[in-house]
């Protein structure tokens, strides 16, 4: 760092006084918490606690899915965590509508449910998939007929894109040793169960079977039995879950 820079950033001679009122205590403040109008929280000081076991929720696939922010689902008009839904995005330049495998906040989005069967039945025009507020807005000035969508193969395209992003993610992470809290992925065509919780030596483990959907995914996506680390590979696990949920019902 250059010397003049350190002078500007950190000058010992300058006393920065943060505006802060001193803590107030007074006998008149009895039971102020009842009428203070603030959100109530339990104040946990880690010394006095009758220690609770940590849940390790950030390493749990289902906790991550369920904790994602709520979004409005177009067909059912109910709210649902957005990782359980598919994002459909309109590209405002090319006026193209498509389903995205990896959700992002850019652009104009709406959310539809994650099921190939139901979408095949219900998604018959771009109008029902696109965010409705665009059509009433005077700024975007958009007509439903302007939007282009590949009606025959947009679901097929979505599946291919999803599988491709899974393959892409697999290139970065792959390891074969099981650890506690890891997620097992197998390819067993004889086993009809897609997701299962099994007993291993150290406790319980989630096992995902991609072979149950053999007609829809090629074996080249997942070569053999392996484990995904729930700490580092959570994005990949979420993608795999999305694919399973999309195809299974």
């Amino acid at each position: 760092m250059k010397p003049w820079r350190s002078l500007l950033i950190k000058n010992d001679k300058v006393n920065r006084i943060m505006p802060h009122l001193p803590d107030k205590t007074s006998p008149l403040f009895t039971q102020f918490e009842r009428w203070s109008g603030k959100k109530k929280r339990l104040y946990i000081t880690n010394n006095s606690e009758p220690g609770t076991n940590p849940f390790h929720l950030s390493q749990n696939l289902f906790a991550n899915l369920v904790a994602s922010p709520m979004r409005h689902e177009r067909f059912s008009k109910t709210k649902s965590p957005k990782l359980l839904l598919i994002q459909s995005k309109i590209d405002m330049k090319s006026k193209q509508l498509k389903l995205c495998s990896i959700q992002s906040r850019t652009g104009k989005n709406s959310y539809v449910l994650n099921s190939e069967k139901v979408l095949e039945k219900m998604a018959k025009s771009p109008m029902v998939l696109s965010p409705l507020h665009l059509y009433s807005s005077k700024i975007t000035n958009l007509n439903p007929s302007d939007i282009a969508m590949d009606k025959q193969s947009f679901l097929e395209n979505y599946r291919i894109e999803l599988i491709n992003s899974i393959k892409q993610a697999y290139k970065n992470h792959l390891k074969n040793e099981a650890k506690e809290g890891d997620i097992g992925v197998i390819y067993d065509e004889s086993n009809p169960k897609i997701m299962e919780i099994i007993n291993i030596l150290k406790g319980r483990q989630l096992q995902i079977n991609l072979g149950a959907l053999k007609e829809s995914i090629g074996e080249e996506v997942v070569p053999s039995k392996h484990f995904l680390d729930s700490k580092t590979d959570m994005d990949l696990v979420i993608l795999v879950y999305k694919l399973l949920n999309f195809l299974k019902n």
């Binding site: 009122l21 403040f29 339990l42 929720l57 289902f62 059912s76 109910t78 449910l113 139901v118």
Partner: protein
Amino acid sequence: MSGTIRTANAIITDSYALIKSTERFFLPQTMIVNGGTSKFLRASYRRFMRLAPFVSQRAMVRSTYVDYIRYKYKIEDYDMKRRLVLGDTALPRAPLRQQILNTLNFIITAVSYTEKPKDKVQKTDIILARKILKNLLTMEYEKMKKNKVSDGKDYINFKLKFNHLTPGSQKIKPISLARNKVIKDFDSCIVYLNETVGLRL
């Protein structure tokens, strides 16, 4: 400018009223080890209800929470729900007492505040537990939103018989098909979460 007011029971900061005495929200050790089943259930029920003011300031959310706890204790057939999601060959369920203890700890985690978290795990646990609780209550509200219009059928479908979790029944309208699917996804995620963490949400 920020000011903090300290009273005998609480610290009131800019955004929160932090309650200092936490003993009455935890189950006493003697009750956990050798309380009778019905005593234990009633004691834990009381503690869940005591936590209601911490869940939200809005009466609507609070009443959703209270109704949810009451439904879980008195009405829900959890074994049936679990069987429908996991299948008949699933592993045996964890003991009830342990599940309830974990769930009480989960709710306490969701409504707690700590200045210096022990580690990163505690910090993320508090954030995620709160989000899960909020989403769960939103979803409970969504389930019952149209119950009056549908003559109580939603209550029977989603809460008593779990028709949305059973496969089949193709004759329903497309909109309710979509609604069933969305709620089914959420409910099965919650059951899997319960199984992996040892909860009973």
